[in-house]
């Protein structure tokens, strides 16, 4: 043990004449190693969810024609949200998987408002996430309906606002607009991959496989960037720098929302994480964490850019953040959840 102390001391002395001391080098080395571990951890964890999302998307692409899909979507923009929320509740995936599905719906001509609502609501309103919330917050059962209710309201409002503001091709990412994988033009001559009854089942399943593989890679590239940034933030910014913000209610909500954005934790387990902060922050701050995390995070914003134009994503982020912040603040001021 004495030897260990000697080595440490030598490292400090050497450090005087060198740009980085031994402890600084060790610190940087640990930082990089932990960054790599967290980065790969996020990717490994997200892979099955992302794959499920792209496979569902590929099935919709190949087996469901635009006409058939649009038959289920009411013309009324308010009623159009109902099937979007319904599909969201049936998709047991977190935000990694649902972007691919939302992209597909957009490309098939489903109204923008319904797609945005689906995108924002499905990671929270799915049964797995709600069950996890109920399990984690056994001591505060109202958290389940508060989380679900707020997610529903925010997703519907943001969807309607974005849908009102911009329609059709105005919102689509340039990559998506020009991409041959998706079909905005329903009159093109290349129908053999989607709903052509003349094609055999095997060739259609092959098309599903190819489509899923391609889409997996195009979504993975943004997930890689999002995971890299999220994990870098985790090893660079001490968590106390964020949590120490939360002295008042307003700052507590800001702190928890920032934490959710930075951490990019999967929506199916974030309730357990939020629970560990329940002794530090009030319920509205935890609620804000649970609602914004699955909707907007470092990981998901990049993925949204594969579906929407940057200014639409910016508007989506701003509206969602504002609505959640104000809702949490109002709930706190009204004292309904304290």
């Amino acid at each position: 043990m004495a030897e260990g102390r000697q080595t440490g001391a030598t490292g400090t002395i050497i450090g005087v004449s060198k740009p980085f001391s031994g402890s600084t080098r060790r610190h940087i080395s640990q930082q990089i190693q932990d960054w790599i571990s967290i980065f790969l951890g996020i990717l490994v964890e997200a892979t099955p969810f992302l794959l499920l999302g792209v496979v569902v998307s590929a099935f919709v692409h190949v087996f469901v024609s635009e006409d058939r899909l649009l038959r289920f979507v009411p013309k009324n923009r308010f009623l159009a949200l109902v099937p979007a929320l319904g599909v969201g509740m049936l998709m047991p995936v977190c935000e990694c998987g649902n972007v691919a599905v939302a992209r597909r719906f957009l490309a098939k001509g489903v109204p923008v408002s319904a797609c945005v609502t689906f995108l924002l609501a499905s990671p929270i309103l799915n049964p797995v996430a709600l069950f996890a919330t109920a399990t984690a917050f056994r001591y505060y059962p109202s958290m389940v309906w508060l989380r679900g209710g707020l997610a529903f309201v925010v997703a519907a409002l943001v969807g309607l606002m974005i849908g009102q503001w911009a329609r059709g091709e105005q919102v689509l990412a340039s990559g998506l607009l020009g991409s041959p994988e998706l079909h905005l033009d329903h009159d093109h001559e290349h129908h053999h991959h989607h709903g052509d009854p003349g094609r055999g089942l095997v060739s259609r399943l092959t098309a599903v496989g190819n489509q899923a593989g391609n889409e997996f890679m195009s979504m993975m590239q943004v997930l890689v960037i999002g995971a890299a940034v999220a994990s870098a933030t985790q090893v660079v910014i001490p968590r106390s720098a964020i949590t120490n913000l939360g002295t008042g209610v307003v700052l507590a909500i800001v702190a928890m929302m920032s934490l959710a954005f930075v951490l990019s934790i999967c929506s199916t387990v974030d309730a357990f994480f939020a629970l560990s902060y329940s002794n530090l922050f009030p319920i509205p701050a935890l609620l804000a964490f649970l609602v914004i995390g699955p909707m907007i995070s470092m990981k998901s914003v990049g993925m949204m850019l594969t579906a929407f134009r940057p200014r639409v994503v910016l508007a989506l982020v701003a509206l969602t953040t504002e609505l959640i912040f104000l809702s949490a603040l109002i709930l706190n001021l009204r004292g309904q959840v304290l």
Partner: protein, 263 residues
């Protein structure tokens, strides 16, 4: 001369298409094999909670299958798809995109899976059982006279102290826990160290460092990241005017590093 240049251009163009055609499936297979190798080497739990190992491994196998399917599909020319819906999308991706997708695979190749060390515990703020209310510990055992605490692992102690942090209820109870040493001057009383593990719910991005406060009988000889098995009894110490449960060790043995995660 012009003809030769045109031929070279054509050859280069065909190489470009071929490279892109095979790069996509190659990378897909890479991701699939990376995941399968984690499973085969039994190290996937260093990244994710074991609950997710089965679906993740299945995803790895599916990715390898999708890669094989992509390898087998005809080229763009053979398919004659002008807009290439679904069957030739890979040729629309730039080489820089493939490069980006290779980064995680290269990192996985160069750096073997490694658990988080004390550095991340300090960054995340270690939580001492008995001093902080720790939620999310799945196995909570109530300590009573009928419970033999010798069998308690770290998770059991964290659960018990979260449910009932009163140190008097644990006075004299035997303790034997193994974990990583962490000096956390701001978090524990002077002269004490923490022996910690990480609680992981989904993946290591959500890992939370939790542990017991232990009297440092090594007088500073133990370093961060060292693994120790602490044997002793529960007692109490004063921290900010409050009594908190701490371990009074009778023996601290440095042990081989293990998996620091509790799921």
């Amino acid at each position: 001369m012009t003809i030769r240049i045109e031929r070279l251009r054509a050859r280069h163009a065909s190489w470009g298409i071929d490279i892109r055609r095979f790069l996509g499936p190659f990378i897909l297979a890479g991701y699939g094999l990376f995941i399968l190798s984690l499973f085969m080497r039994n190290v996937m739990q260093l990244y994710i909670n074991p609950v997710y190992i089965a679906p993740t491994t299945l995803a790895g196998a599916v990715l390898v299958g999708l890669a094989a399917l992509s390898f087998a599909r005809p080229s763009v020319d053979a398919c004659n798809c002008e807009d290439a819906c679904g069957c030739s999308d890979s040729h629309t991706m730039g080489l820089h995109t493939y490069g980006l997708l290779c980064v995680p695979l290269l990192l996985a190749l160069l750096f073997p899976p490694r658990a988080l060390a004390s550095f991340s515990a300090i960054e995340r703020g270690p939580q001492a059982a008995g001093m902080t209310v720790l939620h999310g510990a799945s196995s909570v055992k109530r300590v009573s006279l009928s419970v033999n605490t010798k069998t308690f692992g770290m998770m059991d102690w964290v659960g018990a102290l979260s449910a009932d942090p009163n140190p008097r209820d644990y006075q004299g109870k035997p303790v034997q826990v193994t974990g990583m040493v962490l000096h956390a001057p701001g978090s524990v009383p002077t002269g004490y160290i923490m022996v910690i593990r990480y609680m992981v719910t989904c993946c290591i991005a959500d890992a939370r460092p939790v542990g017991l406060v232990v009297r440092d009988t090594s007088h500073g000889a133990l370093k961060d990241n060292q693994w120790v098995t602490v044997t002793g009894t529960m007692t109490s110490a004063s921290e900010s005017g409050q009594k908190v449960a701490v371990v009074a060790p009778t023996k601290m043995v440095v042990t081989k590093s293990g998996n620091p995660y509790m799921y």
